[in-house]
């Protein structure tokens, strides 16, 4: 018998090794990713009159509300920038992170039905969330750019964009995406069996926003508080984003490196956990 020499295309075994992440399979299913992104957009605003306009309305209204409540009523400082611009910058980037986190954190639970019937690399689903939200972010970023351009050219607001650091923007966006994905799929993997964490996600994300200098610039805090705030890997990213476009905020290269390292490790760990869970979650979900 030459059984050992036989070639098998697929071997289904109890538990795969922790490092067995099938990138080839993910690549093979790239068309599915594209179609899922398309579905997200087609289905999101079906049967609405304004349709995709909602992508723009959402951040604008949030920014206006922030401007009114935090800027006018509470008179919180915005580092000398026009409040609407300050909040728009924070909100656009923050929304990308929080949307990625919230939507990927329910990957297993919301897709249990499909996952129970068909096999495809499960990572496709959170990756498609990342891509659809990136497009959404692109639209919101556009809004920000329009308002920013207006203030830059037609007002006497003091802004000193750091053009030389503009190349950092894609890096910052990737970091936000990585952190959102990492936390999201980690939570979704941990909640297949014990659902406790799902309760944390809703208000946890809100709390995290206040700890990430979306609303409050860290420049107004004491030295010690600043360091504590910067331990949150999101803070330095948002600060850097504002620093590049508005000239305010701060550019903490060491903290940015820390955030980047944090993101890489988080993504690695979460993908390992995710691939381990995807093998068996149908029995526990």
């Amino acid at each position: 018998m030459n059984q050992t020499e036989e070639h098998w295309d697929l071997i289904i075994k109890p538990q795969n090794k922790w490092y067995q992440i099938d990138f080839a399979a993910i690549w093979k299913y790239r068309d599915l990713l594209g179609i899922l992104v398309r579905r997200d957009f087609l289905a999101a605003y079906k049967q609405t009159i304004l349709g995709p306009l909602w992508f723009f309305i959402q951040p604008l209204i949030t920014a206006l509300t922030f401007t009114f409540i935090f800027g006018r009523v509470a008179e919180l400082p915005t580092d000398g920038n026009p409040p609407i611009l300050f909040y728009l910058a924070g909100i656009a980037l923050w929304t990308y992170f929080s949307d990625c986190l919230i939507k990927t954190s329910t990957t297993f639970v919301t897709n249990a039905r499909i996952f129970g019937k068909v096999y495809f690399p499960r990572l496709i689903i959170p990756l498609s969330v990342l891509v659809s939200n990136l497009i959404k972010f692109g639209l919101q970023f556009l809004i920000f750019l329009i308002v920013w351009f207006y203030y830059l050219k037609f007002s006497d607001a003091k802004m000193n964009p750091h053009w030389e650091l503009l190349w950092m923007i894609p890096v910052l966006i990737i970091m936000m995406a990585g952190l959102g994905l990492g936390m999201g799929i980690l939570i979704s993997s941990l909640t297949t069996k014990y659902r406790d964490l799902t309760f944390l996600v809703g208000f946890g994300v809100q709390l995290l926003m206040y700890a990430s200098s979306v609303v409050l610039p860290i420049s107004k805090m004491s030295e010690k508080t600043q360091h504590i705030m910067l331990l949150n890997p999101l803070t330095s990213i948002i600060e850097a984003f504002k620093y590049i476009f508005l000239g305010s905020g701060s550019f903490e290269i060491y903290y940015l490196a820390y955030s980047f390292g944090f993101m890489i490790i988080l993504v690695l760990i979460s993908i390992i956990v995710f691939t381990k869970v995807e093998k068996s979650f149908m029995d526990t979900v």
Partner: protein, 421 residues
């Protein structure tokens, strides 16, 4: 030499009974501790066979245990068994939806599974978008779907609605479109679970035809169904499962009779009594008797008649009553359907009370083999009925014919005139 495309080796799947999420931390920690010391999972040693009707002692059951079989290229394997026998769990493992607890499965070639039609259909999207969505979930590339799109739409027969959101579809149209996508997958191995139970008769026929085509092209099909007629028609190999193990694997001609006999108690059943219920009409007893009036408990000679005695009650008056008998062979094919009105040309009026009837099943008529008998009483005016399906079982044995293997269903000896010219 090796034509084996699927090899299943010692596969087992253990499930924990009761609620997941409560009290599982303790066993999780226990497991983790054992793993840390390099010991075997303490919960793998326990567990019992999966008989859902009996109360067990353990919280762990083996939904599948010691499964070993091979499927060769081009085979159409029917997997049959009662509910809870482990068929779906096996299919889930084969389609990689879940992993086995122990053992492994080796597969050659692209595998596609159809455990449900319309997986991932989004109600808000149009038929067209859903074809792409569903197709790519099932593993097709965009280009493949594009190439086959017209074929898919034509097969589904919903061309006119292809740009309408599927939530506006009738459920039949929905299923048609969904099956059409799946039917145009081009896998080397296709796994199908009881999806033919949906759709109307015409469409079911179309689906069966399509699956036959697939197997005709030398592809391998694994098919789970409770519809023995479909299994018999479609499959050339069969596999019977019971309590999570394979109890029979072989040619379909042997497997279906084996399954029917094992699931009906593997004995001749000559008499059945039924408990009273609140149904307005009710069969109370059915019995098969021989010419001397003894209840049948062994094979009957093919030249002896059989008598069916039935007792039945009417709790009120019915005006358009009828009696029917269905006799199926061991392949679940109906060989004879008798209707009282065939002879009497009219329905009968039943007064409140108990009745008894005797019918003669004349022999020689049926060829040697096992048979299952269904009795029905009904009233077509009020649409009320009581059917006792496949309850009685009898066996006819060949006692005097020289021919051992007989094609067809009947054994009706006639005289053969012969003259020398």
């Amino acid at each position: 030499m090796s034509d084996v495309v699927i090899r299943v080796e010692n596969v087992g799947k253990q499930y924990r009974l009761g609620q997941v999420g409560t009290g599982t931390i303790a066993s999780d920690l226990n497991r983790w501790w054992a793993k840390l010391r390099g010991k075997e999972d303490p919960f793998l040693a326990i567990g019992e066979a999966n008989d859902r009707s009996k109360k067990g002692n353990s919280d762990f059951v083996w939904a599948l245990k010691d499964i070993n079989f091979e499927v060769k290229r081009g085979e159409v394997l029917g997997i049959i068994g009662k509910n809870g026998a482990g068929k779906s769990t096996l299919l889930k493992i084969l389609s990689q939806v879940t992993t086995p607890t122990i053992g492994e499965v080796k597969v050659k070639g692209r595998i596609a599974s159809l455990l449900e039609v319309g997986t991932g259909f989004n109600p808000d999207l149009t038929g067209r978008d859903n074809v792409f969505l569903n197709g790519s979930i099932l593993g097709m590339t965009k280009q493949e779907i594009k190439n086959k799109f017209d074929e898919i739409v034509e097969f589904s027969g919903v061309e006119r609605y292809i740009d309408t959101p599927v939530k506006r579809y009738s459920s039949g149209m929905y299923v048609r479109l969904a099956f059409a996508v799946a039917a145009h997958l081009d896998p080397e191995i296709l796994i199908v679970d009881e999806v033919l139970a949906v759709g109307d008769a015409e469409f079911q026929k179309k689906c069966l035809g399509k699956m036959k085509d697939v197997s005709g092209q030398g592809r391998t099909v694994l098919f789970v169904s409770h519809n023995m007629a479909a299994v018999n028609q479609l499959c050339n190999k069969g596999l019977v499962m019971q309590y999570g193990t394979v109890i029979k694997h072989g040619d379909i001609d042997e497997v279906i009779p084996f399954y029917l006999q094992s699931s009906f108690g593997n004995t001749i059943c000559g008499e059945a009594l039924f408990e009273s219920s609140d149904k307005p009409m009710q069969v109370k007893r059915m019995a098969l008797k021989d010419q001397k009036g003894n209840t049948i408990d062994k094979p009957v000679s093919q030249s002896d008649s059989i008598f069916l005695e039935i007792d039945y009650d009417f709790k009120k008056q019915f005006k358009k009553c009828n009696l029917t008998i269905t006799i199926k062979n061991s392949n679940a094919e109906i060989v004879w359907f008798l209707d009282r009105t065939d002879f009497h040309k009219e329905f009968f009026v039943a007064e409140t009370g108990s009745y008894t009837s005797v019918f003669q099943i004349p022999n020689p008529l049926l060829k040697a083999g096992s048979y299952f008998l269904t009795l029905g009483i009904s009233d077509s005016q009020e649409g009320i009925d009581d059917h006792k399906r496949d309850i009685l079982q009898f066996e006819i044995e060949n006692t005097d014919s020289l021919r051992v293997n007989r094609a067809g269903n009947l054994f009706l000896p006639v005289q053969w005139e012969m003259k020398k010219k």
